[in-house]
């Protein structure tokens, strides 16, 4: 028995020395340490031996088992180390396919439309000043587009808001039905439906009956804003718009406020920023003026508040309207409005 054990130990040690992969090592383990291994047989056979022999052989058998387990452990670690070394070794296949300058596996990339990105950015800026985003209908009553905003009927102030009319009859006195020419119509609805204090911005599609060219489209986007409360002043309007321009166009961009006319505000304001190309020197973009008009604004006309059920003697209000396309056109130099709604991937992929 003893000899058998020593023989086994020597044989196992000899075999394991030549093993160089995990599979062979596993069959070695089964052969020498498995349930049906010789060693197990010897251990099982101990019962047939005399007590003394049982003690001596048994002790040695357990020693052999421990020794084999140790050898196995060593070999396992050795193989693991080798395999780790192996994986770092460079061969031709790895040289070909492991070239780190090869392109990665393509994952799809998508983007929001530049207009959506712009609206989101603008809304975030105004949201940080307490303005909430609201939306309103694009197909609108004449009343909210014009009369509620102090546009008299048959007045040339309507001329700049050339209108698409919808071929749909309605007995509603707020009719007829049109495609809104500005998002200021949403302000008219807000004044009518909300209680002060109010701070809202209203982005959305607008429509004008205009021949389509590089700077005009029958469809375009606007973002109107409205604030109503006791004690709102034109100084607040200037501050709010200045903050917007600073955050959208950059820290040191100068702005200019001048008098302008819109029927729904008094006093009326037009805001311009210092030309982004020439910084006020005068160039082609700003037609030599050094300034780029970016929005119209003003203190909401008392008549507009009154028509919406807000007492202009108690509350003051400011309003502004920004053409959305103009923002990225100025920032990125997009030179044709038609690109926004042509949906060409070569344009969409740029932003």
């Amino acid at each position: 028995m003893r000899e058998k054990l020593e023989e086994l130990l020597a044989k196992a040690r000899g075999e394991i020395a030549g093993i160089d992969d995990g599979k062979d090592l596993e069959s070695w383990r089964i052969r020498y340490l498995g349930r049906k291994s010789e060693l197990t047989n010897i251990l099982r056979g101990l019962a047939t031996l005399s007590l003394e022999e049982r003690k001596a052989v048994g002790a040695r058998a357990n020693e052999v088992k421990t020794l084999l387990a140790e050898v196995l452990q060593q070999k396992t670690e050795e193989l693991k180390r080798e395999s780790a070394q192996q994986s770092l070794r460079v061969d031709d296949a790895l040289l070909a396919r492991g070239d780190v300058t090869l392109p990665g596996r393509p994952y799809p990339v998508g983007r929001l439309h530049l207009i959506t990105q712009t609206i989101n950015e603008m809304c975030e800026i105004f949201a940080s000043m307490g303005f909430q985003v609201v939306e309103g209908p694009e197909v609108e009553w004449d009343y909210y587009n014009f009369a509620a905003l102090n546009f008299p009927e048959e007045h040339p102030s309507r001329n700049d808001y050339s209108t698409f009319w919808v071929d749909w009859k309605s007995p509603n006195p707020k009719g007829p039905i049109l495609l809104r020419a500005h998002t200021t119509s949403v302000s008219a609805r807000v004044i009518e439906s909300m209680e002060p204090p109010i701070r809202v911005v209203e982005p959305g599609k607008c429509y004008r009956y205009e021949a389509i060219d590089a700077t005009h489209g029958e469809v375009f986007y606007q973002l109107d804003g409205l604030a109503v409360d006791k004690g709102i002043t034109m100084a607040d309007l200037k501050g709010t718009l200045y903050e917007f321009a600073r955050r959208y166009f950059g820290e040191d961009r100068r702005v200019r406020f001048r008098c302008d006319f819109f029927p729904f505000v008094e006093p009326g304001v037009e805001m311009a920023i210092e030309c982004i190309i020439c910084h006020g020197e005068g160039c082609q973009l700003c037609r030599g003026e050094g300034w780029l008009e970016i929005l119209g604004a003003g203190m909401t006309h008392p008549e507009v508040l009154r028509r919406g059920g807000i007492d202009p003697d108690v509350y003051t209000s400011f309003a502004f309207g920004i053409g959305i396309e103009r923002m990225p056109m100025l920032r990125y130099g997009v030179d044709d409005l038609r690109l926004f709604y042509g949906n060409d991937l070569r344009f969409l992929k740029q932003f």
Partner: protein, 803 residues
């Protein structure tokens, strides 16, 4: 509108540089969009008189022109046909900067030998001087300029290209702009002297004027000038008209135009002899009444238009255009001059309806004060006497039924501060308003100013109008910049806005590009979406005045727009994934349409970009399950459980489409476009679509949900391969399996039909996850349930285990 600064300066003195005048006008509301300096760069160019014209010795078409420049004489070679002795010309010496008429660029004039003769400088054309595009001959100057004087001092001017806001009809005149300049520079306005001699005859003996429609004509003034001889107007007047962009016609027409530009009051001159019955009647037109207007076009009028008539017929469309039947011609000797005030809305309506925009119309429709008629008619009458050779019959007929006493407007310093956010003293307010021509007096309190509006300012009605006057003259720069200091109002978020953001986030993550389309579409193209019925179920909303038939209808669905974008991008390489989030417009009786927010996405082309790792070069195309997978991903992200059923959308492939059902309601559809549709849109490859109604989806997207404990006991996975009829929906299998306790998930990992299963059958290989929250499952427990599952599948679907 082109405005000569020289002309403005005739009425107000200012030494400010033109650019500064332009800036102040712009800041105060009358925008100067461009400043054109005539005479800029005319250094050295002087007025000369031609003293001799001799033939060129070597060229038939050239002449040698000798020009007297006062202290010297120069001879130049000239090719112009209009050279003549005694003509006044503009002489440019060598070294002057001129425009090359062929290139348009500026060049320095060099001494040149032309066909052997040295030309010492040249006589210039208008084009070479940059005055106009005329290069047919040299510029011949009017008499009166001093020989040797700098041309810039004689002809130089600054032209403002102006945009006047619709509330300021007074600024559509030189005097009105002069008043603005005066207020902005502290100057004073001096008006032209309009006095003239009159004959002893009384005008009332020659004409009677009757206003039948005083609501549309608050005032009508007329003067009568006899013995007129029609001819050219004076050169200076013609130049004023030309500077504005008007063509001189004859002395009478030019005077009416000149005074309109000068004062802002449109005037009309009738040939008095052509007026029947010595009568002017201002009345509404008869329905269908006809008149031939000055441009020779026959106009059909309506009863809400105003005409000027004589005893027999209409002789002018009031405020819009004169009639041919009373036109001033070469033979005219007596002029009846009209200066009237008309209702602005009526003029706007008439001008718009007859499509006759005119300078007169543009002024009337903005609302000119009736008070302006008198100073303007006096000025024009004076000019006609002076430059038309006429005698003025005594008196001016003045019918003025619409006289309104001016209502003073009061404003307090408190109101100014309430609106502007900055304090101005009563003196500042009064001072500013006085500069603008308001008459101010103290009001009922220390802080109040009561201002009587000057007649030319029709736009001042309420206190805040005065606030704007103060702000714009003092300057918006003087108003401080503050942030809103009132508390932020309570915010409520429109949930659909959040939903749109989340959908956009998911879709862009899946590789989709968002598109935005014009919602106005063409009906014929829209109908191509319906290969069977050839039209949408209900007709879309139509515009009454479309720009083109390509944009005539409001889209009733979003797929038309996304498909159009797919067509536009059909030559793109690689996968095309587009979506739009936008409204569709569904008509409702007697009301605004229902504007429904929709999501529509489409996919086409290969599933992925070309890659060196792809197993084959042949790219795998998208299929139905790409589109469905996207919908599943979107809805899972929103925490929405959906079911899918075969559907019957006409635009989609009859078999490859499914309705998306949530909570038993259809919220959308997913499928492959019908081959007839892709063919109609000329797209070669299949296109897959998904479409979801946001209002239908929204109620199921509530973010509120309860935390689920992470299982503490292991799950057990079992794979089964079922054989069922090929037509049995997988959904039925899942429904049965998921109906059993212990089952937490069913995943399908293979679908097979072919040799290995009987004909008419398919094999579905599913992995079932079993789990319990309170203990580790035993084989026995799972075996029991699995047997029950198989039993039920067998009973209800005839399913067997695949051997």
């Amino acid at each position: 509108m082109k405005i000569s600064l020289n002309w403005i300066k005739q009425y107000v003195d200012t030494d400010l540089p033109p650019k500064e005048v332009a800036r102040r006008l712009t800041m105060a509301g009358s925008e100067v969009k461009g400043v054109q300096v005539i005479g800029e760069g005319w250094e050295g160019i002087v007025v000369g008189r031609i003293t001799a014209v001799n033939p060129h010795p070597n060229a038939d078409r050239l002449t040698l022109v000798t020009i007297n420049l006062g202290s010297s004489e120069e001879t130049v070679v000239c090719g112009a046909p209009n050279v003549a002795v005694d003509a006044m010309v503009a002489y440019a010496p060598v070294g002057a900067r001129l425009i090359n008429p062929h290139t348009g660029g500026q060049e320095t004039l060099k001494s040149a030998k032309i066909r052997g003769v040295v030309s010492n400088g040249m006589a210039c054309s208008e084009k070479e001087l940059g005055i106009s595009d005329d290069h047919t001959g040299i510029l011949i100057l009017p008499e009166g300029f001093e020989v040797g004087r700098l041309l810039a001092d004689c002809l130089g001017d600054v032209i403002f290209n102006m945009d006047v806001t619709p509330n300021r009809p007074d600024c559509l005149s030189i005097i009105g702009l002069a008043r603005e300049v005066a207020a902005l520079t502290g100057g004073t306005v001096h008006l032209p002297d309009a006095s003239y001699e009159e004959t002893d005859e009384l005008i009332d003996n020659h004409i009677s004027i009757e206003i039948e429609a005083p609501d549309l004509c608050p005032r009508y003034c007329a003067s009568l000038i006899k013995g007129i001889s029609i001819g050219e107007s004076p050169r200076w007047m013609q130049e004023r008209l030309i500077s504005y962009g008007m063509r001189p016609i004859n002395n009478i027409v030019d005077i009416t135009n000149f005074v309109m530009l000068e004062y802002g009051q449109p005037l009309h001159a009738f040939d008095y002899e052509k007026l029947a019955g010595r009568k002017i009647i201002v009345r509404r037109a008869g329905e269908g009444e006809e008149i031939v207007s000055l441009d020779g076009v026959e106009r059909v009028l309506g009863s809400n238009m105003l005409v000027i008539a004589d005893a027999e017929r209409a002789v002018a469309v009031a405020g819009v255009m004169g009639g041919a039947n009373s036109e001033v011609t070469e033979e005219t000797t007596t002029i009846l001059l009209e200066s009237a005030s008309f209702n602005p809305r009526s003029i706007h309506y008439t001008g718009r309806t007859l499509d006759m925009p005119s300078e007169a119309c543009m002024r009337f429709e903005r609302g000119i004060s009736p008070e302006l008629t008198m100073p303007a008619i006096k000025r024009a009458t004076q000019l006609m006497a002076e430059f038309g050779g006429g005698q003025v019959v005594r008196g001016i007929v003045d019918v003025y039924p619409g006289r309104v006493e001016p209502q003073p407007v009061a404003v307090t310093t408190g109101e100014v501060k309430r609106v502007l956010g900055v304090e101005f003293s009563r003196e500042q307010i009064e001072g500013t308003l006085t500069l603008l021509g308001f008459e101010c007096r103290p009001g009922s309190s220390e802080s109040e100013v009561v201002a009587t509006t000057p007649y030319w300012r029709s736009d001042i009605n309420i206190p805040v109008d005065l606030v704007e006057e103060v702000a714009r003259i003092i300057g918006y720069d003087e108003i401080p910049t503050t942030m809103l200091s009132d508390p932020i109002p309570r915010q409520t978020t429109e949930p659909i806005i959040g939903l749109k953001r989340k959908l956009g986030e998911s879709l862009t993550g899946y590789g989709f590009y968002e598109i935005i389309s014009d919602p106005l579409v063409n009906l014929e193209i829209l109908n191509r979406l319906y290969p069977e019925s050839h039209s949408p179920a209900s007709s879309p909303l139509r515009l009454a005045n479309p720009m083109t038939i390509m944009h005539e209808y409001l889209r009733p669905n979003l797929r038309i727009c996304v498909l159009t974008a797919m067509v536009n991008n059909r030559h793109a390489e690689g996968p095309v994934r587009l979506y739009e989030l936008g409204k569709v417009y569904l008509p409702r009786p007697d009301d605004l349409p229902d504007e429904v927010e929709m999501l529509c996405g489409m996919l086409g082309g290969p599933r992925s970009e070309m890659s060196w790792q792809a197993k084959t070069d042949k790219a795998v195309s998208f299929d139905f399950f790409d589109a469905k997978g996207i919908v599943e991903g979107l809805l899972t992200r929103l925490g929405v459980n959906a079911r899918y059923e075969p559907s019957t959308d006409e635009t989609l492939h009859p078999v490859k489409q499914a309705a998306i059902l949530v909570g038993g309601r259809q919220i959308g559809v997913v499928g492959e476009l019908h081959p007839a549709v892709t063919e109609a849109f000329d797209i070669p490859d299949p296109v897959y679509l998904f479409e979801i109604s946001l209002p239908e989806l929204l109620p199921f997207t509530h973010e509120y949900r309860l935390f689920q404990q992470i299982p503490r006991f292991p799950s057990m996975l079992r794979d089964i391969a079922l054989v069922v009829d090929a037509g049995t929906a997988y959904q039925k299998v899942v429904d049965i399996i998921e109906g059993f306790p212990l089952v937490t998930q069913v995943s399908l990992f293979d679908v097979y039909s072919g040799d290995q299963v009987p004909p008419g059958k398919k094999s579905l290989a599913c992995r079932i996850t079993y789990q319990l929250p309170d203990h580790t499952l035993t084989d026995e427990e799972v075996n029991k349930v699995e047997q029950q599952i198989l039993g039920k599948l067998s009973r209800e679907l005839g399913a067997t285990l695949r051997s």
